[in-house]
Each structure stands twice: as structure tokens, then as C-alpha cells.
């Protein structure tokens, strides 16, 4: 294995890891508030469809069209997440069933396909797509060029976002209150924190980020419309949150590890090495199970485990 091969794998790991990172950061915020949303795949697909729609129909310079597309993708993801939020927070429905319903409703055989068909998205490739933003000189540098400087604005924004989420959780008052809501909603309520409001806001933000993650596919990786183009990335994002112990910094690392697994089979194939792609594709799921078992017991659980109130509705009268 020579260095250029390693660089190729690493840079495509970043490309494939970026949608996972967005979606996982969003899911992380929702889960930290105590809301498990299994509808990530559906939210991503609707975001991908609406973002793509904007790029096709908006007559504007490339940068403006793409920014508008990302904004609309985020809005669409948040709107889909609002259904889940209303059902599980206000109506106290089962988070698992509601999340799965969201995926069926919005997913590859649901709303995203309905919209794509109605808006005729599959007709032509994207009019604008994200391309590398930094000067050519930097991109041409050996090793650091493709690894660090050859990426699209989506990648750099995801780095900023990771830092922002990490700081938000660790260093701000709302971040602290958010963690309290996810760990002990009863105690949070007792000190005057509005549990429902925190859960609503973070579930919606989670949906918005999933929408952006979906748009990474339709505006950067694929740049065209195919039904179900996220190919299960939403489920990997859910796995990633667990794999990263519900921490944003580890989400970044994990996203690129999982991204490398997606990229490896293609890269190897291009080099004439045939490996069953399923082997690499199964790794994220298996690794997540291993991590989940490891954090399920005793002392580890308290430091690295899931938010204590994850998946449970909060009803003040039934505390």
C-alpha cells in the first residue's frame, strides 16, 4: 500500500463521511434531549429531494442557489421531524414506532419519491453542485491537498458545526440544560427548565441537520436524483451516534471511519482488487453492536452510555 492509495482512501472517507456527520450530529442533539428519532433516513431523503428541487428551479448564481438549497433542505428535514416531535413529546407516543413510521412516510417509497416524481426531479442532473472551494494552489499540494484543502464548503461547514456542537454541549448554559433534560427530565423540570421546549427544539434541529446530510448526496456526492439515493446512510448515522458515545468530537472520527468503509470497496475495485463490498458495509453495524454492549454495563454506562431518559416520554404528573 503506497501513500497515494492511503490518501485516496482518506479523502474519499471524508466525502462519504460528511453526510453521516451532519445526520449524526443532528441525531445526537435529539438523543441528548431524550428523543430517539429512528426516522433519520426519511428526513435525509426529503431534505435531499427539496434541496435538489431548489437547485433545479431557482435561477440564481451557483453559490446563492446552493445556499438556498441547503436552507430549504434543512427546513424540509425540520418539518418532517416536527411530526415525530409532536407525536412523541406532546402525544407521548412510542418513539420507536413513530420513528419507523417517519421513515416509511418520508423514505424511499414514501414522500421523497412522491415529491421527486411530482416535481420531476429525475429528469436531469443537478444544475449546480458543490465543488472544492479553496485555491487550486492549495489543492495541488501533495498529501495535504486532497486530504485537507480539496473539499467542498459542506465539509468545512461540518467541521465548524462539530466544534460548535461540542462547545454548545460542554460550555454553554443551554447545552448544560439540554443534557439535564436528557439525563433527568424530572430534576430539570423541578429547577424550572422547560423540558418539552428543549425536546422540540433539538428534535427539529436534528431534523434540519439530517436534511442537510441528505442534501450532501443530491448536491455533492451523486449530484442527480435517484429514489433512495442515501442508501441507508440514515441508519448508519443512528449507529454512529452510539459508536461515538453520544459525543460530537468522536462523531467526526467515527463518520470518517464509517465513510472509509463505504469508500474502500470502490477504491479497491478500481485498483483491480476484488473484495466483497458487503464485508466492509457490514462493519459499521457490527462495530456499533460491540460498542453498545461495551457501554451497557456498570460504571462505563454512567460515563459513556446513552442519556438516561432516552426513549422515555416525560409526563410531569407521572413522575
Amino acid at each position: 500500500m503506497n501513500s497515494s492509495f492511503g490518501v485516496l482512501i482518506a479523502s474519499s472517507a471524508v466525502v462519504y463521511g460528511t453526510p453521516l456527520l451532519y445526520a449524526a450530529l443532528g441525531e445526537l442533539l435529539a438523543e441528548r434531549s431524550g428523543v430517539l428519532n429512528l426516522g433519520v433516513e426519511g428526513m435525509m431523503l426529503v431534505g435531499a429531494a427539496m434541496g435538489f428541487f431548489v437547485v433545479q428551479r431557482l435561477d440564481a448564481p451557483s453559490a446563492l442557489a446552493l445556499s438556498a438549497a441547503i436552507a430549504v433542505a434543512a427546513l424540509a428535514g425540520a418539518l418532517v421531524a416536527a411530526i415525530h416531535a409532536f407525536l412523541v413529546i406532546t402525544l407521548r407516543a412510542s418513539q420507536i414506532v413513530s420513528g419507523l413510521a417517519l421513515t416509511i412516510f418520508a423514505g424511499a417509497a414514501g414522500l421523497s419519491s412522491y415529491l421527486a416524481n411530482d416535481l420531476n426531479l429525475a429528469a436531469s442532473p443537478a444544475r449546480h453542485a458543490f465543488s472544492p472551494v479553496l485555491p487550486q494552489g492549495l489543492q495541488d499540494l501533495p498529501i495535504a491537498g486532497p486530504l485537507l484543502f480539496g473539499h467542498t464548503a459542506l465539509v468545512y461547514a461540518s467541521w465548524v458545526l462539530t466544534v460548535a456542537v461540542a462547545l454548545y454541549l460542554a460550555r454553554t448554559r443551554p447545552g448544560l440544560e439540554l443534557r439535564a433534560v436528557g439525563e433527568a427530565p424530572g430534576a430539570a423540570d423541578a429547577v424550572g427548565i422547560n423540558v418539552s421546549a428543549y425536546r422540540y427544539v433539538h428534535t427539529l434541529v436534528g431534523g434540519a441537520l439530517a436534511g442537510v446530510g441528505g442534501a450532501c448526496f443530491s448536491l455533492s456526492i451523486t449530484p442527480q436524483w435517484l429514489d433512495g439515493l442515501t442508501g441507508g446512510a440514515g441508519w448508519i448515522a443512528i449507529a454512529l451516534v452510539i459508536f461515538a458515545f453520544w459525543r460530537p468530537d468522536l462523531c467526526l472520527v467515527g463518520a470518517y471511519v464509517f465513510g472509509a468503509f463505504s469508500a474502500l470497496p470502490f477504491t479497491l475495485q478500481a485498483r483491480g482488487v476484488t473484495v466483497a463490498p458487503e464485508l466492509f458495509q457490514a462493519l459499521p453495524y457490527v462495530m456499533t453492536i460491540v460498542v453498545l454492549v461495551a457501554v451497557s454495563t456498570g460504571a462505563v454506562k454512567r460515563h459513556l452510555g446513552a442519556p438516561a431518559a432516552l426513549g422515555q416520554p416525560y409526563v410531569r404528573e407521572e413522575r
Partner: protein, 369 residues
């Protein structure tokens, strides 16, 4: 408006809520259709015809309903005792792989041997796959929701691997075009499950009868046996169950195994009733396992209702395939299934809680006494 928990749910409400949910869901779906410039009445009429009244439609609906009965039962037996096995999808794949394997291995045997072996192998493989999250839950206290979900993808990738990326026992290598278009080896004729014709255009697959029998067994198991009672207690309050001396671990394992068995037999039925080879794309595309959870939730986890709801949702899915591309919006079936489930989940609030209007609840007299 105030919301209080109900002590007991009136029986009429338990039936009224799912039916009302479907009615409200039709209204919401109509709004979606109108907003995108489609005529809802026309779409609904086509849907109804394609699901139930077109020639042969009823038989196709039964075909679509059969796997949903199995996966719906699989979800119902676990969910009703608080075990969230969302791995029916993967358990069905493993059942289909095992059943196709024994059918190929037993080539030359009679139909009775073949069918019995396929049911047993499918059920055993499904149960074994479900026992992985079962053991992790029972002995490592690991949340079964995520592990069973992750194992769906592992099973799906294994299924793809067997047919697309290796020359496995299941893969067809002899027929022309097998190189370019990999597919499963055709199963022996004796492995085709029988069908029962009622009248000229209604064909009942054997698998549906198996599912109905299993639904009856599950009902008896949960209502009339010690196992069912203990499972229910553990679902409601694991701590109370432990103090009462119940063996909670054993119960978790048994419920997970039963759930996986039901999904696994569903996989065997896919091989024997309909596909007659191991068909990865055909098994994965409809998402039987996830739709089964929709079915179970709509049926409020009652095995008998599961069969009825599977018939309705099966009709919807069948109409979706039949109408694809004609004058029927793509993706509408998923949208409608989702909306029906959202409404049912919302309606669940009315089953579990009493909504009192007015400023204080105290002024209202207690009627049901």
C-alpha cells in the same frame, strides 16, 4: 384542557380508535393529494379497485398480506411485553436463507418432507438470529432496539453476499445469463407450497393458513399460559416480576425466540409460497419487517387483529405495485401508510388517557361506575 391517565379503557374505544385513525388518515392523505394537484377521490377509487375488486386483485392482496401477517405477529408478541424487537426484517431474511438451503439440500424428497423441513429451518434460523439481541439484552443489559435494528443490515448484506458476490450454494450457476444477472438457484418443485382456490379468482396461499394457525397459538400462549402471564408481568414491571421469583432472563429469551421464529417462518413462506428461489432484491425491497411493525401497532399488538390489519395494509401495498406509473402518484402508498400510523399513534393517547375539556376536571361527574 387536561389529560389524565385512564384506569380502564372502554372496549368500544379500543376498536373505534384504529378505525377512526384510518378515516382521519384518509382525510390527511387527501389533503396531500389535493395540495399536489391530484384528485383524491380518483386516487382512492383506483386504490380500492386495485386492492380488492379488480380481477385477481384479492388474490394478490392475500399474497402481499401473508408476509405482513408473519412480521406483524413477530412484532406483536415482542412489543406487547415491552421487548422492542425491530429485527423482523433480518430474521425474515435468515429464515428465507435457511429454508431455501434445506429445500435445495432435500431435492428429491416428497412435498410433505420438504414443506415441514422449510418451516422448521426457517423458524429456527429466525429464532437464532433474534436470540443474538435476546442474549445481549438478557445477559449484558444491552438495548435490544438498536442491536436488532443493526442486525437487519448485517442479515441483508449476508443475503446479498450469498447471491451477488460469491458462488454460494444458493446461487444459480447453470442457466444462461447467470453470470451477468446473478440470482438464486430454483428450488425443487416439491418445495412449492400448495395453494387453495376458493371460487374462480381467489387463491389462498398455504403460508397464510400457517400464519393464521400461528396467530391462534400465540393468542392462547399469551392469554392462557404461565409463560404468557409471566412475560406480561415482566413487560409491565421487571422489578415486580423478579421479586415474585419469575425468571426474567429466560422469559426475555423465549419471547425473542418466538418473535424471531414467526418472522423466520415468514421468510420460509416467501421461498415456498411465492418466490421459489432465494431472491435478495425481492425480499428487501418491500421492507416486510418494518411494515410488520406498522401492522402490529395498528392492531394494538393483538394477534387476531394483526391478521385483519395485515389484510388491509397488504391491500394498500398490493395496490401500490399494481398502479405504479399509471395514473397513480409514486410514493403515495408509503405516505399513506405513514399517515395511518401517525394517526393511530395519536389516537393511542385517547386509549390510554382521558382528555377533559374545561378549566377544571373536578366539575365533571364520574359516569362509568
Amino acid at each position: 384542557m387536561r389529560i389524565e391517565r385512564r384506569g380502564e379503557t372502554p372496549r368500544w374505544l379500543q376498536a373505534a380508535v384504529p378505525i377512526g385513525s384510518i378515516a382521519i388518515a384518509l382525510v390527511f392523505s387527501a389533503i396531500v393529494l389535493l395540495a399536489t394537484g391530484h384528485n383524491p377521490l380518483h386516487a382512492y377509487r383506483r386504490l380500492f379497485e386495485a386492492a380488492f375488486t379488480d380481477p385477481g386483485a384479492l388474490s394478490s392482496t392475500l399474497t402481499a398480506a401473508t408476509p405482513l401477517c408473519f412480521t406483524g405477529l413477530a412484532a406483536a408478541v415482542a412489543f406487547r411485553v415491552g421487548l422492542f424487537n425491530i429485527g423482523a426484517e433480518g430474521q425474515l431474511y435468515m429464515g428465507a436463507i435457511a429454508a431455501a438451503g434445506v429445500a435445495l439440500a432435500l431435492a428429491g424428497q416428497g412435498a410433505v418432507v420438504q414443506i415441514a423441513a422449510m418451516v422448521v429451518a426457517g423458524g429456527a434460523a429466525g429464532a437464532a438470529w433474534a436470540l443474538i439481541p435476546g442474549f445481549l439484552r438478557a445477559f449484558a443489559n444491552t438495548n435490544e432496539i438498536i442491536t436488532s435494528l443493526m442486525l437487519n443490515y448485517v442479515a441483508a448484506l449476508f443475503l446479498n453476499y450469498l447471491i451477488f458476490d460469491t458462488i454460494s450454494y444458493w446461487r444459480d450457476t447453470s442457466s444462461p445469463g447467470a453470470e451477468q444477472f446473478p440470482q438464486g438457484k430454483p428450488l425443487p418443485d416439491a418445495a412449492s407450497w400448495p395453494t387453495f382456490g376458493l371460487g374462480s379468482n381467489l387463491v389462498i396461499p398455504f403460508g397464510l393458513l400457517v400464519a393464521a394457525v400461528l396467530a391462534g397459538i400465540v393468542l392462547v400462549l399469551y392469554k392462557r399460559t404461565r409463560f404468557g402471564f409471566e412475560a406480561a408481568v415482566i413487560g409491565d414491571s421487571p422489578r415486580a416480576a423478579r421479586y415474585a421469583g419469575m425468571r426474567t432472563r429466560r422469559s426475555v429469551l423465549l419471547v425473542m425466540a418466538l418473535s424471531g421464529l414467526l418472522a423466520g417462518v415468514g421468510g420460509a413462506s416467501q421461498d415456498g409460497d411465492f418466490r421459489h428461489l432465494l431472491d435478495p432484491r425481492g425480499l428487501q425491497q418491500p421492507g416486510y419487517g418494518y411494515t410488520g411493525i406498522v401492522v402490529a401497532a395498528l392492531a394494538r399488538y393483538n394477534p387476531f387483529s394483526v391478521v385483519l390489519v395485515a389484510f388491509l395494509i397488504g391491500g394498500l401495498s398490493n395496490a401500490g405495485y399494481a398502479l405504479q406509473g399509471v395514473d397513480f402518484p409514486a410514493g403515495l402508498v408509503g405516505v399513506m401508510q405513514g399517515i395511518i400510523l401517525f394517526c393511530a399513534l395519536g389516537g393511542e393517547l385517547l386509549v390510554r388517557y382521558r382528555v377533559r375539556l374545561g378549566r377544571t376536571g373536578a366539575a365533571e361527574p364520574a359516569i362509568a361506575r
